[in-house]
Amino acid sequence: MLRVAIVRRIVRYAVPLVVGGVCLAACSSSSSPSPSTTGGSGSLPSYTIAYEGPLSGGDAQLGLNMKFAVELAINQANSGTSQFGKLPFKLNFLGEDDQGSPSVSPSVATSLVDNSSVIAVVGPAFSGATKAAEPTFSGANLATVTPSATNPALATQGWSNFFRVVADDNAQGPADAQYIANTLHIKSVYVVNDASAYAVGLTAAFASEARSLGMTVTSEQVPGTTQCSEGTGSVTEYPASATKVVSSGAGALYYGGYYCGFADFAKALRSAGFKGQLFSDDGSLDPHYVSGAGATVASGTLISCPCQTLASSGPASAFISQFKTLAGFAVGTYSAESYDATNTIIKALKSLAATDGASKITRAGVVQGLKSITFVGLTKTIKFKSNGDIAGTAEYVYKVGPSGTISEVGPA
């Protein structure tokens, strides 16, 4: 009786379940989102340039600044009216959100690597995410050109597919120290980092250069707060740190971190009576810093960046206006660098199409092409060193005006 009951049920339930399960597995193996592969519109071969960065979460604005710039460059190239003229292939854009997080970036990297039409990646945007994802990209020899991941360690891991169009923290930190010492003539500085991977490296480089310039340097780690989704600290730590800064008598405060934490800290500093110079890195280069801290507090703050504002006339003006049309907001931090990174890739693709044929471009070919490329972009002339870093370094300093507008002061 039991056996009959079992057999009857197996037939009735188990079979459809197994069939369904196999279908599901088979379906899932082809359901990874992939845009049109080779053989797209018309007879032109098509390739995808992907962007990886934070498109959601607390730092989404930085990611969106870059994403639209990449998309714009691709749209312009496809239209045939860009500086590259008519291209023998079609380009697709794919934007992936890694939330700036090293937990998410490996799976994003895998899905990009899996997607056979992806020929190059602009990004990942954040250093931590890049550290976690790069082995996957490297294993597949998929070129990644990052417009913003500035951690120096990234260029020393032996990843031949890694490229970066901005100077790393080892350039930015010392340049800032020199600016404070030589241009601002400030003798003592209090250095704070928000315990993020980015800030720790940057402030270490800053501090050691500042010491070698003879400045008095006090360093402290003040963790980013849960308030800003930047770490585990709580905002009650800022008044205490501010007190220490004030009593140290430092003439300047150098903050390594992002705009949200810096805004809260700046408010606490001014409330505690700090009269010195506020100085931060490009993580704070965002209007949200001004809105968070208030124009009164933010006024006079100096911010450094390996990124450059574009002259509003000349070749950049077309970029600025078309970006505004596409994105719905004005160009922001790293938009121009992302645009240049994409165009560098497109130039490499174009020359590969000329030598190898438009339908025979490979990822390895792109990596090789990028190694030897020279491209004159909006921000700089792009040429890569053998480890992927940009040849030549440049830092720029920005200042927050009394009404809250941020404008470039000049090179560091």
């Binding site: 990874s32 979460g57 090293p102 690597v113 082995p135 800030a199 720790v200 780690q221 585990t232």
Partner: protein, 447 residues
Amino acid sequence: MSVHEGPSRLNRLRDSRDFRRLGACVFGMLVLALVTGPEGIQGNPTYGVIQSWLRPRVVGFLIAAVVLWALMTFWGRLSGRIRAEVVEVADVGRRLFESRLPRFGTYLLLIVLAVLLPQILSGTWQEITVDQIGTYVLLALGLNVVVGFAGLLDLGYIAFYLIGAYSTAYWSGALPVQPPFDLNPFFIIPFAVLAAMLTGVILGTPTLRLRGDYLAIVTLGFGEIIQIVATNLQGVTGGAEGVIGIRHFSVNLFGVRYAWPVGATANLPYYYLLLGFVVVALVIFHLLEHSRVGRAWTAIREDEVAAAACGINPLKYKIMAFAIGASTSGFAGVLFASKIGFIDPTEFSVQMSILVLILVVFGGQGSLAGALVGAAFIQWGQNFLRVLNVGWYNEQDLYVYLGGLLVVMMIFRPQGVLPSRRRSREIGLAEHGIGTADAMSAGETAP
């Protein structure tokens, strides 16, 4: 209506208990409508609420509420045949699994499936299977020993994961502090697992005397402390920048040489390593469950004072459970560190510990099958929804769903989806005032 008839059907329907159930169903469905509704807009707090509730879509949810209520209220009167069928299937299933042959046959079948299935998956899904599903299955199995078998609530479970990962980094020479000797990579696993286990014993010995609520908070505190220490001690752990360049796992022993690959092709080899350890863990935990140790855990769980009176040393067994859980977590950390090659301490927060807790509770505390299925299902589910990119699911809202799931589970099915029979009985008894169903209520240090 005659005065001799009982209350009319209408009046029976107005009975307050049914009404309350309807109210609960409507409330639940409205919450669901809000949760699956569009994201709010920064600066406009009522946008999300209006879009979720004041649009036609809410009608669907209200209808679903009524249907749910009807099902719950009239289940007793449902078609007898369907109910009889459901009961019979459950019964057949249970009788089937009681005899050895079908049981082992099923296990074998499952193992074969587990071995073959990933081969046909896409790269993305292979990666999800290892990093998301497999790792969390192992973590859930480990936490199940602590929460389910011994009844201790550990909210800092990920601390051991972190210790396993950092130990791997240490013995690979990736930390600023170098190891005293060069270790054959194969032995990194036992060394790291040992480190995690030791930490479990060190943390557990002073704290496991505490009552359940307090233990939970202390473990939470420890989890936070370990994460902060890892982030701050730059000279030892690399600090907030994390550790990069951890050696990938390899075997070089007795002539057997194999190096696990790097990058996208690493998924399958790591998967099989993970699968091997999951199977070993399942076997060990199953044997433990039915051994003296398991019975001691059950005794402590059900009534600690009585267990102590029978000569069981509760502290010793609690520490054992804690250490076993810690070593499982540590092992998962080792795999993670060697596969990704990079550790960022800021990513291992309390939230991850809570996620593992949710997986165990959902599946069924104290039940191996439950922990396995619960972890696999939720992890598969959330990744499935994420990859598929359905309109209503926003992956940032994951914890809204999981948090709500926890509350609902506790109200309607605290024993979990696939509970162990013993646990269901314990919870049922506890609800009637007999025994305690967990190591939380009794304790000599209760204030």
